[in-house]
Amino acid sequence: MIKLSYREAIRQAMMEEMERDPDVVLIGEDVGCYGGCFQVTPGMIERFGPRQVIETPVSEECIVGVAVGAAMMGMKPIVEVMYGDFSTLAADPLINHAAKIRFMSAGQQSVPLVYRTPMGSGTGAAAQHTQSLEALFTNVPGLKIVYPASPTDAKGLMKSAIRDPDPVLFFEHKLYGAEELVPQEDYLIPIGKADIKRQGSDVTIITYGKTVFTALEAARVLENDEISAEVLDLRSLRPLDTEAILASVKKTGRVVVLHEAPRFGGFAGEIVSTIVEDLEAFSALKAPVVRVCGLDMPTPFNKNLEQQLPPSSKRIIESVLAMFRG
């Protein structure tokens, strides 16, 4: 085991895969000597050179389109887009092309592409650099979507994403400095597998990405109220680990679904539907399912306002306590 930060874990996964397979290529803006907008890629161009680390003009739609084309020819591109917000620009190649090329060609072509981008607030970067836009993509069949929280998951999921024959959207949170001990050997975390980050018996908090940490914080506080909270980290949004969700719900009978993205139309709705559509899980519920999400508004620049936007552990705790008060 070795202590790695979230950004180092992602970098290490990419570098090991690039070492293994020269067709794994990093493509993006300022990913060379600058090391990428969030310093995920320092040292990579020095190690792999411009054949495997390709710095591009500011042309998101084109870069992702180019990656789709190159992937059709055998490249395994990892595209870095600086902010998840700019995924709107990459939406055409991702949604209309990467997601559909295998299907439209009746399996003759595939697009083994990884699209990396960070989501979320907390940086003071205001409304156009802080969104959580995953729900724009989860509704598109043909895309796989992962959103790891921990360095260990990030490394293992990045490797799986690179080796996957289909397009994988790899969303990152911005706690890039968060550290933990990560296995040193070559390992994979399978896409589509959730992980129980904390065992519990009274309530399940289902989440992914940065809010996994918020959930763990809430769970620790709830212990003082003698409430044992389970934290289920989805890690993958599509495919979704329905089995893990249902199993945990049947065990605890109480559910909080948590994410930073706004509540209306957010991915939490999909999770809630998954639960209530299953007779056993539905019957196991001892309280209505609760969604704790980001507020339904763009991110304000003002720091105090920005801090109120994402779900806090306090909001989670209050929701859980309310369930027990009945």
Partner: protein, 327 residues
């Protein structure tokens, strides 16, 4: 005969450039001391563009800026007070603290605000021009964008559309040699972005962006052309940002030697020298000008730094939709 400012005009423009420089230096210091949060993109070194564009326009002409918007916002007429309040996130700021450093807006002075998604402001400026044309307005819209943003498809699409629709847009490429870290040499397919004008059927010109008189007269000419011919125009101004890209930039992508070369072409120094040589300014007056601008900015920043009037969440949320359709 090369264009020259009158005595009064020259001194006003110099003062504007110094205000922009010192405001940004103050902002840099406040970020460094964590008195401000988020990030900031300074345009220190690009003051000849700030002071050469908006002052050369009709006050009713519009501008659409970028993430690097401070100098343009000031030059179009916003006060340091309103800008600094926005930097601090206060409710008396230009956008009541909702926008911050990258989203300065000032409708009173026909500054329509910025997009920090670089290049995306260009089609928006083009759309504003479409409406001006429909209303038979004599005014135009300036679409600022950088050499980096020039690679966005939307920028090319906007130029084509403005050309076929005869829209009053001044496409203003503020070419400071670098995007974030990448050099235009490696990212832009042509030596000069202005040279792309003919590809869209648009008149274009490249000028020295560190000489404010050259920028000013080029903008005046371009604006006259746009109003008379009812056609768009592409103006590229060549400059250099002395500062890093944003708050934490170590500037590993360029040499200190290159920076020194450009520092020796400081646009403020250049104008100051010219004014002195023309007898329009003496050194002592310049020093006084510097001192009074600095101390005024310090005073405003100190005063606002102690204030805490901010929107609350409900007030901010009320801006998501217009009042009529609010939930």
């Amino acid at each position: 005969m090369a264009f020259e400012f009158s005595r009064t005009q020259g001194r006003e423009i110099l003062s504007l450039m110094l205000r922009s420089r010192f405001l940004e230096e103050k902002v840099e210091a406040l970020f460094a001391s964590h008195a401000m949060h988020g990030t900031t993109h300074l345009a220190v070194g690009q003051e000849a563009v700030h002071a050469g564009v908006s002052p050369a326009l009709d006050p009713d002409d519009w501008i659409v800026t970028t993430h690097r918007c401070h100098g343009h916002t000031l030059a179009k007429g916003a006060s340091e007070e309103a800008m600094l309040a926005e930097f601090y996130g206060l409710s008396q700021g230009l956008a009541q603290g909702l926008g911050g450093s990258m989203h300065m807006i000032d409708l009173e002075h026909h500054n329509a605000g910025s997009s920090a998604v670089v290049g995306s402001g260009v089609p928006i400026a083009t759309g504003m021009a479409l409406q001006l044309k429909r209303k038979a307005s004599p005014n135009l819209v300036v679409a600022f964008f950088g050499d980096g943003a020039s690679s966005r498809g939307a920028v090319h699409e906007a130029m084509n559309m403005a050309s076929v629709m005869n829209l009053p847009v001044l496409f203003l490429c503020e070419h400071n040699l670098y995007g974030m870290s990448t050099c235009a040499r490696d990212m832009v397919s042509v030596e000069s972005i202005a040279s792309r004008g003919p590809g869209y059927g648009i008149e274009s010109l490249m000028v020295d962006g560190n000489d404010v008189e050259i920028v000013y007269s080029a903008v005046q000419e371009a604006a006259r052309y746009i109003r008379e011919q009812k056609r768009p125009y592409l103006l590229e101004v060549r400059t250099y940002r002395f500062s890093g890209h944003s708050k934490n930039d170590k500037r590993t992508y360029r040499t200190r030697k290159e920076e020194q070369e450009w520092l020796s072409r400081d646009p403020i120094e250049a104008l100051k020298k010219k004014l002195i040589s023309r007898g329009h300014l003496i050194e002592e007056e310049y020093n006084l000008m510097e001192d009074s601008i600095r101390s005024r900015i310090d005073e405003i920043a100190d005063r606002l730094g102690d204030q805490h009037e901010e929107l609350d969440l409900a007030q901010a949320a009320a801006y998501v939709y217009s009042p009529e359709v609010a939930e």
